[in-house]
Symmetry: C2
Subunit: 193 residues, 2 copies
């Protein structure tokens, strides 16, 4: 359970991520960040290219993790309901593994500049589209009674993506239990939970 030794650059990314999440990207200054690390602001530039450089690294690293987790689900040959359950679990697992990075990924991506911003948009669209496909399959097979798969996926992601706001690793529910709870709630509803 020992953590690998972080390079200075990784330390910077990590501390910046936590500041970006709690104060926002725009409201976090390089001097704040340096102070947190016990060095001077100018010293940061021995390790990083720019402030946005950090943001890009965090955002695309998280995007990769979401995709990797989801790709393991995609291939499986199971009913839509079960596949959605697995997708939710994968999503929750990534979200809870690194809540600060998840927060930056979800809320601060809009401070990316082009062409990173467009690339980010594209990746997110693909991810959502894959989820919509699962819901469409469930509708086609009669498993889901709903008709508007866009609306369903938006609601699904919305309810998942606030998790990082209140999730605490030391809380009483594990990521898997959270995933199960959310799956049940969304698939069966409050009345038939």
């Amino acid at each position: 359970m020992s953590s690998a030794p972080l390079t200075r650059k990784e330390q910077i990314d990590q501390v910046a991520t936590s500041l970006f999440k709690s104060r926002g990207f725009a409201a976090t200054t390089m001097r704040d960040l340096a102070l947190e690390l016990g060095i001077e602001a100018g010293s940061l530039y021995s390790h990083i290219k720019s402030k946005e450089d950090i943001l890009q690294r965090v955002c695309f690293k998280m995007a990769d993790e979401f995709n990797a987790a989801f790709n393991e689900v995609k291939g499986q040959n199971v009913p839509a309901g079960e596949k959605l359950r697995l997708a939710v679990a994968a999503h929750v697992r990534v979200l809870t593994k690194n809540p600060p990075a998840a927060g930056v990924f979800l809320n601060e991506w809009r401070h990316l500049s082009e062409p990173s911003l467009s690339k980010f948009h594209d990746m997110r669209y693909q991810y959502e589209e894959s989820l919509r496909q699962i819901v469409r399959d469930g509708i086609a097979s009669g498993e889901f009674k709903v008709t508007d798969e866009k609306f369903v996926v938006l609601t699904l992601l919305s309810s998942l993506n606030w998790l990082h706001m209140w999730y605490k690793p030391e809380g009483k529910m594990s990521p898997d239990e959270i995933a199960e709870f959310l799956s049940n709630l969304l698939l069966n509803g409050l009345k038939n939970f």
Copy 2:
């Protein structure tokens, strides 16, 4: 259907709200705002006290609207499921009546400074607590099978509060239809919609 003539101050609030929502509070400059209004930055201060002054007005005005809409639901003597349905409808109605203001209320409140920030936190806690009470009543009466009312309310609000991100007044669904869709999804689930 004619709109009342806006005072200059109300115009400023309105334009600022839309900028705060699309660019964020911190990334919106007074010079941006002035440009949008066709005046100089200094001229703004003939009408407003400060940049945060605008933010406060938007946030607390929205908070009042949420409370007002919810208070009409609170008093009604109906089963928990029905009451939750009404609360969702009320919430959606406020959310969709002014999406930019809703966006600022939901995402930019953290740029409030004390004591406004604490006041805001308190109001939101009260709102959430009222929702939790409905869920608790539903659990006590056996109407809801779930056990963790905190989790339920967090998920409920999460799925509602992203509405402003994609809702367009000219879209094919009315606020009431959206409310009904969301209520069904949350109460009955994807499988029994």
